[in-house]
């Protein structure tokens, strides 16, 4: 840590840990409801549990991105944050809005559109809050002499994410158009601008952790985000097959979305090859595992499993079944959950001055959560395929099919328990690090190895 104001990142990351834990609890509530244990129904009906589960996910990921930006932007632009106090106010506001929304869900107060359940008045507060955040990092960047590609891509990703929240508020009485605009938010976020954010954080971590030359890493960053938009914008069409929009979307959406995995393949290749080239010089191996793991699992979850149901002839059968839930879990985890945990793993020792990346809890957290999530994906996959065959192809009644696939939800619960153990270990490790008391690191080498501009650096760290 080189700048005092970077410290605020810790508070964002602590918020992440808290909201993530709550998200998991709500996941279990839904999984138990699926096997018939819905005793909580009078207080937490399924739709409340679900809205809470997915909104907490989005809020903790956004908090993670913001924390990452508050750490990365000062470092890249080599100056303190423009308004450090504002960052704390903005975090508090985000938490208050989030908590209000979640209490509202339990009282049947919402907008009732998947992923955009937050009631309208709160939507405006979210936008204002995010704009304050953008202003803060934007000014920091603007006033700096040094505007790196990584910082710019991160900034524009976050700015576009804020702006793309707006189409979700266009009023319409027509369900088809409602759905049309909803995807401008949901799809253009996860398969568009969030990939910019992910790519930028990935590139920052690779520069820091591998010591490969910045010019090379940032060049490939452009190629990857170029591929993202080339396929992802028109790829939105893969949600316009069966909602009452013209038929040409089947061809356009099918073709372009089939190319989307290329961007993720790029990320996977990027992570692996840069890590190899850099000879893994950095002592924080845990952070490198999360970084490379993220680049690989994002390809599996988003690229491979997304491709599996994006062709119109397949999507006709799988549209709106548990197959989508299978893909949603692995994609969100691999791409966005893991990038946030990667950035936390990298920054925590710098923020707190403690180096616990070799602790057994850190290694266990990585393996247990990833094996757990892969198994959860398999459980959803088996349930989903069975559902498609029995309900869509054979024509059995919905509830009868649900009884047939109940056993796979027990499998899901088992796998989710392993996942939860891993996350518990991660949070334990986080708590062990303590609060951000780290000294300002003016000598620049206490934890990080000196990174020269030569393409490959194998400077052994003094820390070990």
């Amino acid at each position: 840590m080189k700048y005092n104001s970077q410290r605020v990142a810790w508070w964002f990351f602590a918020t992440c840990m808290l909201l993530f834990s709550l998200q998991i609890i709500y996941g279990f509530i839904m999984a138990f409801a699926h096997v018939g244990l819905d005793g909580l129904h009078p207080w937490i009906p399924f739709n409340a549990a679900r809205a809470t589960h997915t909104n907490l996910l989005v809020v903790w990921l956004l908090a993670g991105f913001m924390g990452a930006a508050y750490f990365i932007i000062p470092e890249e632009s080599q100056r303190e944050l423009e308004w450090p106090r504002l960052a704390y106010v903005q975090l508090a506001a985000l938490v208050i809005v989030g908590v209000t929304a979640i209490i509202g869900f339990h009282l049947n107060w919402w907008e009732g559109r998947k992923f955009l359940e937050i009631p309208r008045p709160l939507d405006f507060l979210v936008v204002i809050d995010v704009l304050l955040f953008i202003a803060n990092i934007g000014m920091t960047l603007w006033k700096s002499e040094r505007k790196t590609t990584t910082a710019l891509v991160l900034f524009f990703g976050l700015l576009m994410a804020a702006l793309l929240y707006l189409p979700g508020m266009i009023p319409t009485a027509n369900q088809t158009m409602d759905s049309y605009w909803r995807w401008w938010v949901v799809h253009l976020w996860v398969e568009g601008v969030w990939e910019l954010i992910m790519g930028a954080i990935l590139s920052y971590l690779l520069i820091k952790l591998t010591g490969v030359d910045r010019e090379i890493i940032e060049k490939w960053l452009y190629v990857i985000v170029g591929l993202t938009f080339l396929s992802g914008i028109l790829g939105t069409g893969h949600h316009y097959y069966f909602i009452g929009t013209p038929r040409y979307w089947l061809m356009i959406g099918g073709t372009f979305s089939a190319l989307e995995p290329l961007a993720f393949l790029g990320m996977a290749w990027y992570g692996i090859s840069m890590a190899k080239r850099g000879g893994r010089a950095h002592p924080n191996r845990t952070a490198l595992s999360w970084t490379v793991g993220c680049s690989v699992l994002s390809f599996v979850g988003a690229g491979f499993l997304g491709f599996a149901h994006t062709i119109p002839q397949v999507n006709l059968w799988t549209h709106g079944t548990l197959i989508t839930a299978m893909h949603g879990h692995m994609a969100f985890w691999g791409a966005y959950g893991m990038i946030v945990l990667a950035v936390i793993s990298y920054t925590l020792p710098l923020l707190t001055g403690r180096r616990l990346y070799d602790a057994p809890s850190a290694t266990f957290a990585f393996w247990a959560s990833n094996i757990g999530m892969i198994s959860m994906t398999l459980a959803f996959a088996v349930a989903g395929v069975t559902q498609v065959v029995l309900e869509r192809r054979v024509g059995m009644e919905f509830l009868q099919v649900q009884t047939e696939i109940q056993v796979h939800f027990w499998g899901l619960i088992l796998a989710a328990s392993l996942f939860t153990l891993g996350i518990t270990a991660f949070i334990w490790n986080f708590i062990q690090h303590g609060k951000p008391v780290g000294e300002l690191d003016t000598s620049r080498d206490a934890v990080e190895p000196a990174v020269a501009s030569a393409p490959v650096v194998a400077a052994p760290s003094g820390a070990e």
């Binding site: 919402w110 907008e111 409602d178 080339l230 914008i233 709106g320 548990l322 559902q387 024509g395 509830l399």
Partner: protein
């Protein structure tokens, strides 16, 4: 080798072209959707129904147009599949239509609100969805498809109302729900008089009967009795 500025140009040009194409296609879509979704039938009742749908987050359990949650039935074609009486009864008291099953929230809607939701489902059911939901292709090899699900008139002599309401709870020839008993062979077990009383009010025939009193017309009951009497053991409809 590719230079960094070439990579940046690739990014900027690619993004610009695709974004432009996307916006043009969006304008075209906006101009075509009213026809494809039959916006001329989008009455104020449908609009109110949509507001109820949204403000209660029904999508947090159900899917509609294939979007939503995977906990409760897909409702795009529910108007066709179940008919207005069943849907209304369901919204008055979900537990009455599916006793002891996975729970739906009991909302306490008034009759006007129920009518709005039914109008909403009817409107949704008429949107041209490019072939979604598909009819089950493997169904014919096993047994006749559920009448309502296929949309057209049933071909094995079962009345339309049977395919809409009764199959939700009863199985015939291996097809249907499992809330009530299997009805194959009911023609042997019960005579027309019994069926007549039963269908008018199950509670009057058997105290604490688990089947709800359904909103059936006299004509529908007559039709149903004729059909149920044909369901004999050992000659299950193929």
């Amino acid at each position: 080798m590719l230079s960094k500025s070439a990579a940046r140009t690739f990014f900027l040009v690619g993004t610009g072209l695709c974004a432009t194409a996307f916006i043009l296609l969006t304008l075209d879509t906006i101009s075509r959707v009213p026809k494809q979704s039959h916006e001329e039938n989008l009455t104020p009742a449908v609009h109110r129904g949509k507001d109820l749908w949204d403000s209660n987050n029904c999508m947090g359990c159900h899917t509609l147009l294939g979007e939503g949650a995977y906990y409760a039935p897909e409702l795009t074609r529910v108007y066709d599949r179940r008919g207005p009486e069943f849907i209304s009864a369901m919204l008055r008291d979900p537990a009455a239509m599916y006793p002891g099953q996975r729970q739906m929230t009991k909302y306490g809607f008034n009759e006007a609100q129920i009518a709005d939701l039914v109008a909403f489902f009817q409107w949704i059911g008429n949107i041209d969805l490019n072939g979604f939901p598909p009819s089950p292709v493997l169904a014919s090899s096993a047994a006749p498809p559920i009448a309502g699900a296929a949309g057209g008139p049933p071909d094995d002599g079962r009345p339309r109302v049977f395919g809409q309401i009764c199959v939700a709870c009863h199985t015939v020839a291996g097809r249907g729900g499992n809330v009530g008993p299997v009805l194959d062979g009911v023609g042997d077990r019960r005579d027309a008089a019994y069926l007549n009383r039963w269908l008018h009010d199950p509670g009057a025939v058997k105290r604490g009967a688990l089947m709800p009193k359904l909103p059936l017309t006299e004509a529908q009951i007559a039709e149903l009795i004729t059909y149920l009497s044909t369901l004999r053991a050992r000659q299950v409809t193929p």
